[in-house]
Amino acid sequence: MNRVTIAGILLIAVLLIGIGVYTYQGTAIPEDKVLVVATTTSLEDTGLLNDLEAAFEEKYPGVDLRVVSGGTGIALEYGKKGDADIILVHDKTREEEFIKDGYGTKRNPFAYNYFWIVGPKNDPAGIKGLDPTDAFKKIANEGSKIPDQVKFVSRGDNSGTNSREIKIWNKTGLNYNGTVRNATWYIESGKGMGETLVLANEKQAYTLSDSGTFLAFQGNITLVPLITTGKSLLNVYSAIPVNPEKVKGANINLANKFVEFLLSKEGQDIIANYGKQKYGQTLFTALYGQPEPT
């Protein structure tokens, strides 16, 4: 027999084994048992969703929860296109727009924490203790004076964190698209929260991070939280099922079950206790039926 033929047969054999493993593993799950969750990177990077997924799948055997993570921008887009059944995001303005346009059924806040302004330990711009808006103003000021010492890394990816950051820049009265974005001290990473923290750490720059991801990454970086309070730093996470009336094929049944689970005592307990073991501190505050703080 020709050697090339043997090689071909070998390849096909490996392939068939793969396909065998596959049909057994996943593809056999009927579409109505699959729940695609599009989530912001902060929920995925902290590891919280892994735990929620495990508990949810245990509660509803046979259900396959599939987590796709990206910024709030792309998560909303997946919802609009019908590729996700439920979205977990943190950008109230865009969430309300998403619902108003008919893509989502209801906004269900389930947890919150805070955005933190983090930066190098020696705090070259001297922002510690300031109010968030003043801090941003000071970073811009010092940044234009000593750009080799004071830098700011932005997500620059249309995520919830990014849009909050822009909101704060707009409050400072500076022209965001003109002055801020074109400044040499302003760096756009275009990456998820974790990678942005790593980049900011590399450059010893300031950045805005959700507290959860920051705590989860604390072991790997030397940046410290400098500003942790202020109304404009509140970070509420909510779950929005995709509306099957507007988006064909969205699995509303499972999406509603997942919301119910998230808001149940069981789900809220997982969220409230998450991080104690792994990071020595909880990362999220569960709402336990209370209205979201404003």
Partner: protein, 228 residues
Amino acid sequence: MNEILEGIHQAVDLIITLNPEMVEITTRTLYISLSSTLIASLISVPIGGLIHFRSFRGKRTIINIIQTLFSIPTVLVGLFVFLLISKNGIFGQFNLMFTPGGMIIGQTFLIMPIIIAFTISALSGVNKHISDLAISLGASEFQTIYTIMKEAKYALLAAIILGFGRAISEVGVAMLLGGNIRGFTRVITTTISLETSKGNVALSIALGIILLAIALIINLILNRFQEK
């Protein structure tokens, strides 16, 4: 440097202990990239043959276009296929988005230009005398093509190996169309990307080593058949 050594150490560890998650991710990676290589080869080798054996107007232009597509960014292929298979795309009803099937389609598109172009050059490399000889011995057109294909088989195999290399190593298509879903569409490259973003450098290096080891094994198998 330390991290690289630690990565190698961790790679050896993962392989010796047959870490279940690693085995699962590796099997999936092989399944997806081998499937796309097989499908792309089955389509591209005949297309390449057709282009080589037929003379028609604009042949040179077509070859130029195909060669240009070598440089197509993987994320662009991903985006293109995403628009096709997304639930409101034209192939939306097949539910291919965020599945291994969707990734296979993306990678197939990605590597087809490479295999087509290298098939053409493999066939061009066959001595013209052979086809003349075959024809003078009374071979039909099909027999002539078969003879030339047989003569070019090693070069064809090289084309396929190249395609496989691009498929197994790319991350854009896998990330965009697969979504990097744990236990379902997570492959070696997307895991490396995720672990790097989490700061687990050593684990990323370990996975990289595993990917290269797989590529080495497959190349060794194929090369064994190449040399006589």
